[in-house]
Symmetry: D2
Subunit: 304 residues, 4 copies
């Protein structure tokens, strides 16, 4: 299929590579130059500008945030101006529900099609074409994108006809992971404080009832306090919590656990934790608990 791909960060590069390997004809574009080289070796075309990536049936965007995508969409030579009628914008970035709804309208008015397909998985899963994909939009348009999605992930779950639903689902996915980080962080703080071995505790959890990837990935990081290098940097996790919170405010859904996570991120940043993995919020409970002390029957009474 003749497609464009805009946004060649860690995730985007790995994804564009898989599309090339699957035999698609891919024009790549990235605002800051020098990101395309390895893809050119795999046979990609280097588009000179956004419009240059909009000449196929589908253009995929995989950008950092709302601002980056809005610029690509509404630039003078942007998606809205350049995509031909009937062509598809396959939007895979983690962005706000509100921006996704604005894009739904803008593409519709321009006679273009808009499909959202958000992904869960770290860059290594992207490279292995093992992403989990949540797709939403017009079923026929998703059908048209399905060969591309098959080249990118291990499974595509269809979420519904409203494109922004896939954005909301993605945001809740990151929220659930952050909730597991916080819960693990508190449990590990308690266990460590009692004098038990934190790492052995995590192994025990993940070999019994807590087998989901989030436990296996974050548990050891928190047990060891090993937050560098970041697999997913804390500011990115914070961004997603903010996007989820805004969606929840707009829909009038109080989410106290989201508020707790938010406060954890703010505290982490007050300590200069911007460069750490987002699981570092799971280390704050340990900070609060102080050094290990043996299990004890002492009461918490004032006289203690």
């Amino acid at each position: 299929m003749k497609i464009g791909f805009i946004g060649l960060g860690h995730m985007g590069s790995a994804m564009a590579g898989n599309l090339l390997k699957a035999g698609h004809d891919v024009s790549v574009f990235n605002r800051s130059p020098g990101k395309a080289e390895s893809l050119l070796k795999l046979g990609a075309d280097a588009a000179a500008d956004i419009a240059g990536a909009c000449r196929g049936e589908v253009v995929i965007t995989m950008l950092a945030d709302d601002a980056a995508l809005a610029e690509v969409a509404w630039a003078e030579d942007g998606l809205i101006a350049s995509l031909s009628r009937g062509a598809i914008h396959l939007s895979m970035s983690t962005i706000s529900v509100a921006l996704s709804e604005r894009l739904t309208q803008a593409h519709q008015q321009a006679g273009q099609r808009y499909v959202v397909a958000t992904v869960m998985g770290r860059p290594d899963m992207a490279a292995a074409a093992k992403l989990f994909i949540f797709a939403a939009g017009d079923p026929a348009a998703i059908d048209a994108c399905q060969p591309l999605l098959d080249a990118l992930g291990q499974k595509t779950s269809r979420v519904g006809p409203q494109p922004s639903a896939a954005n909301l689902v993605k945001l809740t996915g990151n929220f659930l992971q952050a909730a597991i980080i916080e819960a693990l962080g508190e449990a590990i703080a308690l266990i460590g404080r009692s004098g038990m071995d934190r790492r052995a505790y995590v192994e025990l959890l993940t070999s019994t009832l807590f087998t989901a990837p989030a436990f296996r990935i974050f548990g050891p990081l928190i047990a060891d306090g090993a937050y560098e290098p970041a697999g997913f940097a804390a500011p990115l996790g914070y961004k997603d919590i903010l996007l989820l919170r805004t969606a929840a405010e707009n829909l009038r859904v109080p989410m106290p656990l989201v508020s707790l996570l938010h406060d954890r991120f703010v505290r982490l940043f007050a300590q200069g934790g911007e460069r750490l993995d987002w699981s570092a919020i799971g280390g704050l409970a340990t900070q609060d608990a102080g050094p290990p002390r043996a299990l004890t029957t002492s009461s918490p009474s004032p006289a203690a």
Copy 2:
């Protein structure tokens, strides 16, 4: 092995049955009568009192709470008074760390041995001998109990030499499950409010990154609001959160997510929810969110 078994509730009966099936010689006792009948058919002996269940190498306790176990331990004919020197109290109830520490001392002073082996799993897992078991105490004493544990669970994880460590681990396990309930509850409230199908959302989660049993068990219950009949009644979940909170207070570990869960249970009980499954706390976010409304770009501004 010649053993006693005290406490024939849903869990205890299933467990005692598996011990009998494995060929052990089991004297059973329950304070309220009439619970032993099906076990007698499997070959159990009916002990007339606590002392009658203390004549073997090991006596297992599987009781409702601290009060019940303390009574069994310190009654005139109780465990402390009746167990012979060197015999083992294998304590499997979900009880407080503090009581477990008192029992550690009391059995030691009486020349008896005390092993804690807490379990995770609902009654159906108990019946299928598929429990996950966390054992702690003197390694030789655990070794002596291992044939019994093998008849009860799919896996025994050894937690350390201090018996109460297994109690703490068990309590954190229930905390992690309750945390997943809360997180799912908030996410499902948001999804439902946006107009998406709640059940389809849960299927999508549990078929991708959120495969742990807690997601698969509680997700559908919360999506459907199906909290009766209770698999694990809310007051029991609350009890365990209180036990964990007390342990955390004693060790001086602030756990804000535990506080949030606590407040959820209190609110559920204010509504008369005592008979519901503990996953009903996951329905409170939906109560707060009000009826579904479509995803919207409307801002949360005062003018809205």
Copy 3:
């Protein structure tokens, strides 16, 4: 003094009236017409546009939110374009710290002066010229405004040389009031649930240690559940909590009580509470508590 006054809502009209009564020469402007009539009777001039209100030494703005003030400031005939060099923009609206900092720069570049003087007090206090005023900015510029401030309030507290400091102080003032609302709401819920008289309880509090106006104003409203008509509408209170939260995020200060208040407002709006007084968030604890029941010694144990 020859001045302009932009923004004739409940607060603005009362304030402009006091300036006229104090003998100042006031040109008034409001975007939606028909608000100026009573002021014209007091001797005000009706400015035809924003520029028309910018011909004196000082122009006061008292607008609903950031958007309204930004429009007035940067419109083609707005404050930045129209104020003469050395003239003062006396900014009295409750707006964000960030907008205030942008205005600081914009006025400086335009050779104009910018003073922030935020106010605490309801419309009746504004009418009685009893507002509390927090002023910040260049001391000489504040001196120049002092006769105006004296006509508006009972006391001007100078906060410092950076104009936005007065915005931050104002926002914390509303936060402290909202915190009192929440605390009172929880206490009154408990008292009411115990069967005691809620109103008598409030009288007892406010006649002893809790004499601050916030207790005397909000206590009876919460005790009686009397949230209409709104003295200060809930969406305005929510707006201020959002502004404070943004300021706190930018400064990296975790404020868990702000998060709790935020979640309360969202829940109130999910119930359709937009028209209620902001003290209605103090009624949510009572919702959670259920109907009164007598003080009791019953334990919170599962068996209860």
Copy 4:
């Protein structure tokens, strides 16, 4: 009036002194000896045991906690055993609602009368006979005690016929104060982080809308971080929060702000803060916020 007074700590000694000065005939008793000397000089009688303090019309208890009062009440020579029929136990300690209800029953069964009169005020207010008193119980019994209460406080508010109501009111009073501490702590953290002067900010608050004693007492302590010596030690504040929380759990009232305060105290103790004034929980937000930095327009975006 011929009375007994049991419990000669900071508060009790000051109160007993005022009763002596008002001309009452007071037998004093304290478990640990050496506390009575200054009172003997004022004319007090030293009772040899609890029974010795129970020979008058009224015996006042002012003890540290539930355990101390329960021991005094149910000791072999304790209040229940020693008070004559119709005599009054005037219970002024800060104790649990549950214990107060047990005492209500026990005294009734013994034909004795039980009045609760809790107090608000620090030792200096006790010494100056300026306490605020909340009295509950049979009106005739309170009438009988009124001369004593008049010698102790500036005002007695009658709370109702059920004695434990006065305990609940007292506990909510301390909760409201702790809530103000937390709110002030968060506001001061934000103000300090913005570079403004914390002490000047507090003066500005307390000279305008936040005039209640709690603001004037705790604001300067938090602004200065001056938590030693303790006016009211943190473990005592924690004890009262625990008592309130238990009462709220029993009445099924979720109080999220109580949970937040609880977690603050636990964190303070994890840092070894037991010797500090309870307002030290108001310093934790400042810990989280890090060092001051200027007000800024920088966004909290991931790129920041």
